[in-house]
Symmetry: C2
Subunit: 428 residues, 2 copies
């Protein structure tokens, strides 16, 4: 049997203790599968004296994660602290500078600093692996980087924030308002300390940016992800969408277009009968489309101790087996700087517009759309509630910029009762 | 850049020419991703002079696949001929005896000779990779062997024969008979030369046996797979199942039980709203359940040129990157000989029984079930068609052996009009 692989784990929250549990419970299984013993030698966390439900006394303790990363008895630095900067980044940089491989679940750090970290790792003969950073237990980084490596990727899509999907499916299934279900999600502990990370689409946007880089061979460019959260989705939109055979999902879409790399994380209508439309509760789903393979759909738990720790340990097992794929699937120096293309792929849109109940109001809105070159597929007024008349419109395919022009021109008609809602209908 | 990796491809049917196309089209992409050039140096097939729609003149030709495998300018032998024995096995054995890695799509060969081939490969420092042998383009071998490698697997399930799923969903959607849809599948070219391989569950059984070996660390044991085909499924069963909220699928299930390894490939009722129940047409789906990760579902094209060639090339890319995982995910010598457990996991069953229209007929059947210790959850007679009265029964959980006992005792009641139908209801 080859030399043992020694882990230093920084961060002992839900995921960190989950990793400790797997290493302890499955030591024999992992040794059989990798041909090596995998052991934890040292751990680090903000608080030492805290009951975590796992035995830690066999491991050395370090208060400082950077000191942990640099210990001579640590071969792989397992970063599970989180936070895009600060101690997580400092310790990761120290590890790779010392030529040590890093396994991390930190989507924010990689979404913001992935290119720099990957280049530094490469210079020092180290790799950074991050299966746990995207879609929890689903082995999607591996599927994309390795399983579909002979494909030119056409599109990557995903529902990658379980909390948002929980909120949207709860609204759908119970008819309750966004605010009410949001409060329930908070009570269930589903929300990040800053809930904007979840409902604003930021967390899911980080994940999309990482998948984009692998899929298209581009430098991670989180700044170019068009972000729109689910905060403005009303139960009315969900019910109207359902009436038309759709579900509303916080959907990430990345695709390479003639004009550049398009990355969007935003509420979309998807067919209720599609795998994405059928996705309930906090489950995640990623859809990978390649030129040879067609469409591959992966589904599983996107968060939680077991699933996320499983993904961390998959990376550890890879390293124990000697599998060391470059951070984003090809040498970091070879990743190209993407040209961001903002919503250049045309799509039909769902619109909900509250009109003042005036004669000719509808005609004025239709004219504004027509002037912007947008043709209407379906339109209906539903339930006059004086003094406003809500109107539903489904457009034919249009560009987002034409739609934005139309929306910008609408207030001047003097017939709007509130801001129009526009949600993309995505072909999935 | 490292030395180039040279492929010898034996078999130029749909998949073989698909692999040639990918290597030619994506030479640059693959080199970027692997850091090496991947080239074809020689090919072999039964007929040389045949228009295949790909340029082959740059490659050496061998009539004999074994000669191809042994060429000094071939590093990896890509076996795409098929057939469990004969030239495919001979050439594979020659390649591994010479220490060369093998990539194959040949599920039959591995299901029947996998253990022996894996041991020989190991002795000679070679690996056999077979992503394309299971579920076409879905990277399920990789997901199970690597992505979930830190999990103790609880259960592996799958719909892995697209032809059977096409037939069953066509019956469901159009109300046509098995025979009628079978003929359509034949006309569409969906059936193997020997259709029993498809509709008898053999092909899917081969795939299940391979996944079992990886999941449970056991020697491939195709002989222990309980096989039941879809030939006896009637439109009546499909419609009755649908009425109760189920779909009928040819479902493979492998799980380690207290009594040993249970492997079944048989028609099952699954909830219509589950991912498996919603699977339409020729698509494949594999469900992997591990102790940490929970349930992971993978979905994609299970056959066809592009998807299967994508999987073959994923293995080639792995080898080009230096990723060389043992054939079944751990050393072949360490794989244990499984104890087969035949349908030991209890389940509810759907039964359809045609009774002669005699007084007391139903009571006699109920008595037989009761005598075998089987309790009835739901029972109904539907549509008296003289002279027989069809009865539907859903049992509570029971063992297959108790059910078999009951079915064996039924003819003696003298009230049967035809053989009873019994289909397992699987919790998925």
């Amino acid at each position: 049997m080859a030399e043992k692989l020694r882990l230093g784990i920084a961060g002992l929250g839900t995921v960190g203790t989950g990793v400790v549990r797997i290493v302890q419970r499955h030591a024999a299984l992992i040794a059989e599968r990798t041909g090596r013993a995998v052991e934890i030698t040292a751990v680090s966390a903000r608080t030492r004296d805290k009951e975590r439900g796992v035995r830690l006394n066999a491991y050395a303790w370090e208060d400082d994660p950077t000191a942990l990363a640099l210990r001579p008895d640590v071969d792989v630095f397992v970063e599970l602290m989180g936070g895009s900067d600060g101690p997580a980044k400092a310790a990761t940089e120290a590890a790779i500078a010392a030529g040590k491989d890093v396994v991390t679940a930190n989507k924010a750090m990689l979404a913001l600093h992935g290119q720099q970290l990957a280049e530094t790792a490469e210079k020092n003969g180290a790799v950074i692996r991050f299966e746990a950073a995207v879609a929890g237990g689903i082995p999607v980084v591996k599927a994309l980087t390795e399983g579909l490596a002979a494909n030119e990727m056409a599109r990557v899509m995903g529902v990658m924030n379980g909390t948002c999907n929980f909120i949207l499916t709860e609204m759908q299934n119970t008819g309750r308002s966004y605010d009410e279900v949001f409060r329930e999600a908070a009570e269930l502990g589903y929300l990040e300390a800053d809930p904007t990370l979840d409902v604003g689409g930021i967390d899911a946007g980080h994940k999309l940016a990482l998948l984009s880089a692998i899929a298209f061979g581009t430098q991670v460019d989180f700044g170019a992800v068009e972000l729109e959260g689910i905060e403005k989705i009303t139960i009315e939109d969900i019910e109207q969408a359902a009436d038309m055979g759709y579900r509303i999902k916080l959907l990430g879409v990345a695709q390479m277009t003639g004009r550049g790399l398009e990355q969007r994380m935003s509420p979309c209508l998807v067919p209720a009968t599609s795998p994405l439309g059928q996705l309930e509760a906090a489950t995640n789903m990623v859809v990978l489309e390649g030129d040879s393979v067609g469409q591959i759909v992966l589904r599983g738990a996107g968060a939680g101790e077991g699933p996320t720790a499983s993904a961390v340990m998959a990376d550890v097992v890879d390293l124990a087996r000697g599998i060391r794929v470059p951070t984003f699937g090809r040498p970091a120096q070879g990743l190209t700087k993407p040209t961001p293309a903002r919503s250049s792929v045309p799509a039909p849109y769902y619109m909900r517009i509250e009109l003042q109940d005036k004669p000719g109001a509808l005609a004025r809105i239709a004219t504004v759309l027509g002037d912007a070159g947008i043709s209407i597929d379906r339109m209906r007024q539903y339930g006059h509630v004086d003094p406003t008349a809500p109107v539903l419109i489904v457009t034919h395919k249009t560009s987002r910029s034409a739609l934005n022009d139309a929306i910008a021109a609408m207030p001047a008609t003097g017939v709007l009762a509130s801001d129009p809602v526009a949600i993309r209908i995505e072909e999935v």
